[in-house]
Symmetry: C2
């Protein structure tokens, strides 16, 4: 994997990430395909709406279809017929979210499957092994994601463990080979809760280990957005300019733009697809609850002039009807539209960075996005 | 509407139905889009898989979105952005299925909505009025569909009512104009339960009224397939050669071919989509339950060499995984595949009729379809 920093506009960055499955132009939003599919969206539709990289989830794919199937089928790219880059999170976040079902030791984490209660043990080595079987272009280290809020002592101890595991993941990667003939890289995850000096310690220790990229983890877990922005900005100053930066699980369109301004290159979030399935549609002039009765006879598109399959072919009134009568097509059209919107947003952000106009544009577009339709 | 009988091969027929929304090549299968969408399939995908005409349901569309919305949105074609022909059933079948919730008189049927219990009254005139608001290319008369089994007396009385209502529907059509600038035609529905002389009476009475086409109703309601074939063959001899014949709610691939051989031109059935959503996939070599564990590591397509988006892009193993983890994409791919299969089947049937080879081909293909994969 190779990252090229193409241009900076103040601290906002435009770059490219070169992988064996193609080039990603950053800043980028990565649609979430937890179980080997982006919910309600076909692979050819992801291409159509401009997805350059998608996410898979190590924890979920490990449980189903399982690594025996994954390997027999030639890895996730071939399994799901998606030949652009894939990033897999390590499963750490899922495991640590199940506070009643897991037990952490220095060696790893024991957890019970949310499906059948069966017991499993994730170690740093194991998590790399699974991601080798998945064949993701970008693998993530196993980290411990502290809850919010947590006390400083907990965050410090957790940090130490996360750095130790990151090192073990790196060793596991160096001691193993990709299974499917393409390169895989490994990103570390900066933790440290809301404590700046711990964020700094974590970043410095991980940067010393020289990873292919750096994620900022443990944010967007309930803290105020301002704190998230501040910690993102703070953390980024310790990360090398020549490596990509990934803010995990973020967020709203506003979160994306504020974080891009502070130097983040990569994002993932279930918001466009999950909210879409709940009838919430993003437009350039604010959000729409498409179930609202006021759209009943509205034959205008969701976002006049916007380029998405949904928007160019169907009206608010029709999509509202689909949601009213619980038709699957409603979920499809809403998901396609919202992902189109997110991908448009980061493409536009990149253009504005290249034109040294990011901050001005950001202010304008955020005002527009905050409108009440 | 204009029907051209292009060729006959014994009693099997190849024809064309010309409508203002395009030409339909018969024999044809019509995907069912009850609520203004074919479940889990996009309109552009219906085009791609060769759908020439789809169904809408008068009863369901009358309740939601309702005729006020339908008319404000310019009719169903515009509402759902589908610009090929649409046939709407009259809602009679849905209403008569709710035996506890409806009351029949000579004038029409009073029923309670399955949604909110509100009371509604369908008359022959009303049903034409609704279909005018929908703007379907082919409207169906309001009929009474007797249950199976029913006694001869019931079937006779019911027949009389169905013929009376057909006449009133025809009058209502002649006394009204299309709302959206395209022609609408009206098909009558032959009833008579399993009683041949009643089927004959029904057919003759309706033929005397000179409808644009004739449906055979009240079959595929629980009677053995052999009886359905026999009654279809029997009824067809009373129907004019120069009008299209539509066997309602039928059926399996075998049902289609046997009925095509007996002179039927048009079919509709929820089977390809409903069974698809349950994980049953049709192939040229028999049916597959895609949830079966034996497909777990099978990287071959559903039906090797078959032309469908699903089949050309995804493996049995992947689709099985999607069903295992309850992903919407599984429903999409299964529905697309099964509709592709049904549309292929009728296209192929037409070719074989034109080549005077239908019966030989039918025997071969039915043997192949009956295989156990």
């Amino acid at each position: 994997m190779k990252f090229n920093l193409v241009h900076t506009d103040a601290t906002a960055r435009a770059g490219t990430v070169e992988t064996d499955h193609g080039v990603i132009e950053t800043p980028i939003f990565m649609p979430v395909g937890t179980q080997g599919t982006v919910k309600a969206v076909e692979q050819r539709e992801l291409i159509e709406l401009g997805a350059q990289i998608i996410l898979g989830n190590t924890y979920h794919l490990y449980l189903r279809p399982g690594m025996e199937v994954m390997q027999a089928m030639g890895g996730l790219h071939k399994f799901m017929n998606w030949h652009r880059p894939i990033l897999t999170d390590s499963g750490g976040y899922q495991v640590f979210s199940m506070s009643d079902l897991r037990k952490i030791t220095q060696d790893g984490v024991t957890f019970k499957s949310h499906l059948d209660g069966s017991s499993h043990f994730f170690t740093p080595q194991k998590v790399v092994e699974i991601q080798r079987a998945i064949g993701s272009d970008i693998m993530m280290v196993l980290d411990e994601c502290p809850p919010f809020p947590c006390d400083e002592e907990y965050a410090r101890t957790s940090n130490t463990l996360t750095v130790k595991w990151a090192k073990l993941c790196q060793q596991a990667m160096n001691n193993s080979l990709p299974l499917y003939g393409h390169q895989q890289s490994l990103f570390a995850i900066v933790q440290g809760s809301i404590f700046k000096h711990l964020r700094a310690d974590s970043a410095k220790a991980l940067v010393d280990l020289n990873f292919d990229g750096y994620a900022i983890g443990g944010l967007a877990v309930g803290e105020p957005a301002e704190i998230m922005y501040e910690l993102t900005e703070f953390t980024n100053q310790f990360l090398p300019k020549e490596k990509p930066r990934y803010l995990m699980g973020v967020g709203t369109p506003e979160n994306l733009l504020e974080s891009i301004e502070r130097g983040v290159d990569m994002f993932d979030c279930v918001m466009p697809t999950r909210n879409g399935r709940n009838g919430m549609l993003f437009t350039r002039n604010g959000r729409i609850n498409i179930r609202n009765a006021k759209w009943k006879m509205d034959d205008s598109p969701v976002d006049e002039g916007f380029d998405s399959y949904t928007n160019k072919n169907f009206s608010r009134g029709y999509i509202r009807h689909l949601f009213q009568v619980d038709e699957i097509l409603g979920l499809q059209l809403a998901s396609i539209h919202n992902l189109s919107f997110y991908l448009w947003l980061v493409r536009e952000a990149r253009k504005q960075i290249l034109a040294n106009n990011f901050t001005v544009w950001k202010r304008e577009i955020l005002e527009q996005l905050a409108a009440q339709i």
